[in-house]
């Protein structure tokens, strides 16, 4: 995974870019405004001077007066002046000055031309008037110009100064925003330092969400939530390990003990083979626990049931009732089966779950009572429930009854036959079929069940046979003897 550059670095870079744009826009605006103002002023000065010159030219109708005009115009444009006058006339006696030539560089209006003279690095603004003929003077064209050397120089300097200022401020913004974002992100740094200190040895530790700004509060809260869930899973795992060890300890200590006893004296072959047989029983018990644990761990890893076949769940339950016929008879229990649905299940896993539910019901039902099995199709899943009359199960026990190795107090006594994984296997089977487990306890009836997921439209209810007693192989109902 590529790590993104630091947030503060990215933020300050963005701030800098943003300020560069804003400063440049402002600077350009200022520059344009300034330029316009300066040129307007130049043009106004030029127009005033041109009108004076026009008056002077207009008042000279003959050659004698024209000499006076020439003198006046010369006075108006001393050598260092920025003003230029030129009078163009058909009669050479009535002319003045040199024409200003160059390339036209733009215009400031209908009567104002910008001209760049060759070899100069500034423009000249020219304006011209036609002065009508009077006396012996023909009509002349008066051209007045002013050069923009100082203005343009000033503008150039102003532009450079602006650019330098923009650059410097941008750098300043970049540096300052770096500091500001660092300051602003300080809670994040603190949070990550706090998170770095979390360790499995102190699992109760949480992030201090209360002191954090709004934006980080949510993050810290959900992070704490994740820690909480992990903590609970870890706790379950820990107690699970302890339970496994405890569960294995009993058979292992029996094995060690009785083998040692057998070996401390000379025993007859019969005695020795009895010890071995007893050992074998304990080994079988260990094998069953190990296999069940492996099965559960496969489910924990998220394995889904395979080899799914679409079957009538009623038929599958009947098959299990057929299998359990004799234990049910021994326990003097009858079974009534209600409802049906088709679902895709792994029949072996489904049968195992059903068998475990029945074994659970057989162990906890008083003789002579009846078990109710209901198959209920629901949205997207089918629920299979086994109800038996029995003592109320309190809510704490209900919450844990599908946990591994969880046994009600009464069931602990016969732990030899019942290793406490039966219902957790039901849960695993349900989960492998995309379903879940449930337990209800009310009015002297305990109901344990699980659901399996079905594809849409598949969980259609099958018509129930006329009599709930009718069934394949005559098995859902067992007359107690």
């Amino acid at each position: 995974m590529i790590m993104k550059r630091s947030i503060s670095l990215r933020l300050s870079a963005m701030f800098a870019a943003l300020s560069l744009v804003v400063f440049t826009l402002t600077g350009s605006g200022l520059f344009m405004l300034m330029k316009r103002q300066l040129f307007n002023e130049l043009r106004e000065t030029l127009d005033t001077r041109a009108r004076i010159a026009e008056l002077i030219v207009d008042h000279a109708p003959n050659v004698a007066k024209w000499a006076f005009v020439q003198e006046k115009l010369r006075d108006l444009s001393p050598a260092d002046s920025r003003m230029h006058y030129y009078v163009e006339s058909a009669d050479p006696r009535f002319s003045f000055g040199e024409p200003i030539t160059g390339t036209v560089d733009g215009s400031l209006g209908p009567n104002h031309l910008m001209v760049r003279q060759p070899g100069k690095n500034y423009d000249v603004i020219l304006t011209s008037y036609m002065v009508p003929a009077a006396g012996e003077r023909p009509e002349v064209k008066l051209v007045v110009g002013t050069d923009c050397e100082r203005t343009q120089l000033m503008l150039r300097r102003f532009g450079i100064a602006l650019a330098v200022l923009i650059l410097v401020s941008t750098i300043a913004v970049a540096l300052l925003s770096r500091a500001v974002t660092r300051f602003g992100l300080a809670p994040l740094t603190r949070l990550s330092r706090e998170a770095a200190q979390l360790s499995p040895s102190n699992r109760r530790q949480r992030l201090h969400a209360g002191e954090l700004p709004e934006e980080l509060h949510e993050l810290a809260t959900s992070f704490n939530g994740a820690l909480e869930r992990l903590d609970r899973a870890y706790e379950r795992l820990e107690s699970f390990n302890a339970d496994v060890a405890h569960e294995l300890r009993t058979p292992v200590s029996i094995l060690i003990g009785q083998t040692q006893v057998a070996l401390t004296r000379d025993r007859s072959v019969l005695q020795l083979s009895q010890t071995l047989q007893s050992n074998l029983e304990e080994f079988e018990r260990l094998r069953v626990i190990v296999n069940d644990m492996l099965f559960l761990s496969r489910c924990d890893r998220g394995e889904r049931a395979s080899d799914l076949t679409a079957v009538s769940l009623r038929a599958e339950v009947s098959r299990m009732l057929d299998f359990l016929e004799m234990p049910l008879e021994e326990a003097q229990l009858t079974v009534a089966l209600h409802g049906d649905a088709t679902a895709c299940v792994n029949t072996s896993l489904f049968g195992r779950a059903m068998s475990n539910l029945f074994v659970n019901a057989i162990q906890h039902s008083p003789p002579g009572t009846s078990l109710q099995v209901t198959i209920t199709p629901q949205r997207g899943q089918v629920e299979i429930a086994v109800s038996n009359p029995g003592e109320q199960i309190d809510s704490v026990a209900r919450e844990h009854i599908f946990d591994r190795f969880y046994r009600l107090q009464e069931a602990r006594s016969n732990s030899h036959e019942n290793h406490g994984l039966g219902l957790s296997i039901v849960k695993a089977v349900a989960e492998m079929h995309g379903g879940s487990v449930f337990v209800r306890s009310a009015e002297g009836v305990n109901t344990f069940g699980f659901s399996v997921a079905v594809d849409d439209g598949q969980a259609r209810s099958l018509p129930e046979p006329d009599s709930p007693r009718a069934s394949r192989g005559g098995l859902p109902v067992h007359a107690s003897s």
Binding site: S278, L280, L286, V288, L324, M326, P327, S355, E417
Partner: protein
């Protein structure tokens, strides 16, 4: 019948060797994958028992080496209970697998199935001592008296009678009688045996149905005739 056991765990090798020898097999052993592959290819065996976790060359490697040359049936022993192990093994040509911890009886059962060792000619009328089981008319007689058995009880008796003298594990009985292939903690087999025993052996001095603690049940005539 010759069986090659490729397994590196000394204790497993020891009990498999003596157990299978007593069952009438000729047992050869290889303690690592390379030796096993060599022996499997070089000599002829009726079946090979192959562990997955082996030094030098693992079980899958051995299997490929064998399959490149021979069609000897192979049963794999896997410690890891993962489906992909199974798929892996079966696709590469293993004929069967057992997940550790497995029961010796089950291994023997699978070996028999793989080698299709001919059982005693399947007769429709089986006699064990004074017991006669007629598989066709589904009737059982002892000492000339017909036993009043339910359908399931008769099925259980016929499974035991067909394999008289063999110890049948509870798992196998569950599979053969009820077609249920998972281990159940319901005492189905115990109850069924108890009922069958009451009808079969109850009134008679010579007991035929014996319990082998921790292993299973066997139907046979014993000299002492004592119940176990």
């Amino acid at each position: 019948m010759k069986v090659l056991v490729i397994e590196d765990e000394r204790k497993v090798v020891d009990y498999l060797r003596s157990g299978l020898t007593e069952q009438g097999w000729i047992v050869d052993v290889a303690m690592d994958g390379e030796e096993g592959a060599w022996m499997a290819v070089e000599y002829d065996f009726d079946v090979i028992v192959l562990d997955v976790m082996l030094p030098k060359l693992d079980g899958f490697g051995v299997l490929r080496a064998v399959r490149a040359r021979k069609e000897t049936p192979v049963i794999m022993l896997t410690a890891r209970d993962r489906v992909d192990d199974r798929v892996h093994g079966l696709r590469d040509g293993a004929d069967d697998y057992l997940t550790k911890p497995f029961s010796f009886l089950e291994l023997v059962e699978r070996l028999r199935a793989l080698t299709r060792r001919a059982r005693a000619q399947e007769s429709t009328l089986i006699t064990v001592g004074d017991l006669q089981v007629d598989l066709i008319s589904r009737r059982a007689m002892r000492d000339g008296v017909r036993l009043d058995l339910t359908a399931k009880e008769f099925q259980l008796l016929s499974v035991l009678a067909r394999r008289r003298g063999e110890i049948l594990s509870k798992t196998l009985i569950t599979e053969l009688v009820w077609d249920v292939n998972f281990e159940s903690n319901a005492n189905v087999v115990e109850t069924a045996i108890k009922r069958l025993r009451a009808k079969l052996d109850g009134p008679y001095a010579a007991k035929l149905l014996h319990t082998i603690r921790g292993m299973g049940y066997v139907l046979e005539v014993r000299e002492d005739g004592s119940p176990s």
